[in-house]
Symmetry: C2
Subunit: 222 residues, 2 copies
């Protein structure tokens, strides 16, 4: 009944893309909306194909996968990035997390079942980490390495100006453009402009998407 989960696959090996693609198709509730072999293509595809989840490797030609995650989180905050990597070192996991990844799976020991479960989990808005990744993360937590603020919210809030943030919050209260304008004693045109800028910065496709983002990032009331 529900809409299928749209997945964008990013990996520089064709055979892996095909293998993953196949798995997704078999799952039934998942749909592969695109594949990319490098970060630039991935970002382009993300804008065009509107995926729910991006599954990406970290080692790719050109810019690093971490960079891709960061850009993805900035430009398309509604998309959840799931890392499927051969690396299991603290460094990679930590950086992926900091860049905004919503899940981390090592290629070494991730089963098809687990991958599908992870896709569904992150698509549902939660995070998913393999046992090994989770261990690393908890170690990082206990060492307070992430103390300098939540990586995700930092990455996601960074681009908004204070005025934009304020206006976004008013949208989450359910106010109309005119009501916001009156509240702030500015022209409705200005409000529209600010909103437009917010929508563009994050590639939101609708007001609802924008509001959901704000709520997730605690900018407004739940």
């Amino acid at each position: 009944m529900n809409r299928k989960i749209r997945v964008l696959l990013v990996d520089d090996h064709q055979i892996i893309r095909d293998g993953l693609s196949n798995m997704m198709l078999e799952a039934g509730d998942i749909e592969v909306c695109g594949c990319a072999a490098d970060a630039a293509t991935a970002l382009e595809m993300a804008g065009k194909t509107n995926p729910d989840v991006v599954i990406t490797d970290l080692s790719m030609p050109g810019r690093s996968g971490i960079d891709l995650i960061r850009k993805m989180a900035e430009k398309f905050p509604a998309i959840r990035v799931l890392v499927l990597s051969m690396y299991v070192s603290e460094d990679y996991i930590f950086n992926a997390l900091k860049a905004g990844a919503k899940g981390y799976l090592p290629k070494q020991d991730t089963t098809k079942t687990e991958l599908l479960k992870a896709v569904r989990t992150v698509a549902g808005g939660d995070e998913y980490f393999s046992d090994t990744a989770a261990q690393v993360i908890s170690k990082l937590y206990s060492h307070n390495v992430r103390s300098a603020g939540n990586p995700e919210s930092a990455a996601r809030k960074a681009n908004l100006t204070s005025r934009e943030t304020e206006i976004l919050r008013l949208y989450t209260e359910g106010l109309s453009n005119l009501e916001i304008a009156d509240r702030l004693n500015i022209s409705i045109r200005t409000v529209e402009t600010h909103k437009n800028n917010i929508m563009q910065k994050y590639n939101f496709k609708s007001t609802v998407e924008m509001v959901k983002f704000a709520i997730r990032n605690k900018l407004g009331e739940a």
Copy 2:
């Protein structure tokens, strides 16, 4: 900086309304948008004055306070009801909770400080219960008395038809009227009408409010 919390006071004793009103005014961040001495007036005022929180007694002339809570939750799900009652029996607390109350304070031993804290808490979307009320509630929980479904969601979902629920879910996905119409192969006019009906049933004042409601009630994604 933030907008004041709007409170509607419901109690059949003038002196109590005045006393409470005074307390709210002193608080600075709270605003009394209206008072009512009975359930009917309270409901009318709720529709007109758009409060964030309703503070109500349970014993009132005419219909019971429990009934008021239920109606309030149905017609204005965005409004949080805080019960301030002389009763501390299981029965009253349980029924108030089942009807959709977001907080419960006994008149006997609630201080001004605690009342203000409770108002701010429920206004912020959380629940607030006095220690005595909380004890009763936990007892009820442990006895599994509330096992027959979450009272709030039951009360709040009841009025929507299946078609309306379906459409509401699509709104939470960020789809426009036209997109929903295409998805369901019906006219955009029909979608608009359904949405209108949803908005009227719950007295939503904006699409955003509707979507937030749906998310809170797990009708759509977070």
